[in-house]
């Protein structure tokens, strides 16, 4: 049973990593679809917490995402399996491409497919953001909705470094906890 889970984890991360073009957030959204929506191994809030950990640690988000998800699902063996699954595809592809770089670079068909895939990647991210923000809006917490809006505006339009956004959210979270504790007793 446990071995089956590890094999499934390995195959899933291998598959996601092999087809994930365009940076860390893409693989994170694909992981959400796979491990939250399809396999139900992680719940949605937990996934967002794990993404926050992956995002605020040094290193590639795709690798960090694989580490948190693998660790959550099956501990240290899960972590090792999902790291391997994540780095094997780029490892093999880059090794091969470094040999055939000239041919690959000048091929118009390759370029067109990659171009079209960009629109597909955009659609995947939109779909995940839609589902998650819908759930958040349903909670009717004006504070959480405001944080989402403000964080989006400052990162998207003002290029504010995400590290600052995370630090400020941590500070707000601390203040909120004390505030709630205070109102419980009063």
């Amino acid at each position: 049973m446990k071995n089956n889970k590890l094999i499934q984890l390995f195959v899933s991360t291998l598959y996601l990593s092999a087809f994930t073009f365009g940076g860390g957030y893409v693989i994170v959204t694909l992981m959400k679809k796979k491990f939250v929506d399809t396999l139900h191994w992680i719940d949605q809030d937990e996934m967002l917490d794990l993404v926050a950990i992956a995002q605020s640690s040094p290193g590639a988000i795709a690798v960090n995402g694989a580490i948190v998800v693998g660790y959550k699902i099956a501990g240290i063996p899960g972590l090792l399996v999902s790291i391997l699954g994540t780095i094997i595809p780029p490892f093999i592809i880059i090794s091969a491409i470094s040999v055939f770089y000239e041919i690959f670079q000048s091929n118009i068909y390759v370029k067109l497919i990659l171009d079209g895939m960009q629109a597909g990647v955009g659609a995947v991210i939109c779909s995940v953001v839609y589902d998650m923000s819908k759930d958040l809006i349903k909670t009717k917490s004006w504070m959480n909705n405001a944080i989402m809006m403000i964080a989006f505006v400052v990162t998207c339009f003002f290029n504010v470094n995400v590290i600052y956004v995370i630090l400020i959210c941590i500070a707000i979270g601390v203040v909120r906890t004390f505030y709630h504790k205070g109102s419980d007793h009063g």
Partner: protein
């Protein structure tokens, strides 16, 4: 010892690159072009291009590419391990503490505040991908420079994801194929 040098160089890349993706670029450049004579500047530019066209995080791709070029397969392996080792240690420690202490009200407060911000950051990544998909290489974003075909491909992708619940990997590949077919027909 070249393997040790590769390992230590990419260990620094892994340890100090926060924020993922292109945040790692200047660090990689510093290690492989400036501090060590491993790549010329034009080879480094090629490496960035390859990374954009292939799956996988740029740091892992660079480690594989540079390691392979300098010391063959073992070079690639040592550089890649160096690159992911800091993540493995830091992220798994954070995941451990998260899973152990998440019931604490303080951590609950912080995580509840972080979740909406994480959704916002994913949305921001989606916007930048869509802008580049819809406008191509144009730096001036006017209505007339919008690529209608890409918007249609995006819309089809959204429908397949939201209403048909199709596997996101298939959606991405299908979007790539649509662009290719469009070119072959028109």
């Amino acid at each position: 010892m070249i393997l040790l040098e590769l390992f230590l160089s990419f260990l620094q890349v892994g340890l100090f690159s926060f924020g993922g993706g292109y945040a790692a670029l200047p660090l990689i450049q510093n290690q492989v072009v400036t501090l060590h004579p491993w790549l010329s500047l034009s080879e480094f530019t090629d490496l960035v291009t390859i990374s954009q066209m292939t799956p996988g995080p740029i740091a892992i791709n660079s480690a594989t590419f540079v390691g392979q070029k300098i010391a063959g397969i073992w070079g690639a392996i040592f550089a890649t391990i160096g690159c992911i080792l800091p993540s493995c240690i830091i992220v798994s420690l954070l995941a451990y503490f998260y899973l152990k202490y998440r019931k604490l009200s303080m951590l609950q407060g912080i995580l509840e505040t972080l979740r909406p911000a994480v959704i916002a950051m994913i949305a921001t990544a989606g916007v930048s991908i869509l802008v580049s998909a819809f406008f191509g290489e144009n730096t001036v974003h006017t209505l007339s420079s919008m690529r209608i075909d890409m918007m249609i491909i995006f819309a089809i992708g959204m429908i397949l994801l939201q209403y048909k619940k199709m596997d996101p990997i298939y959606v991405m590949i299908l979007c790539g194929m649509m662009k290719l077919i469009e070119y072959l027909i028109l």
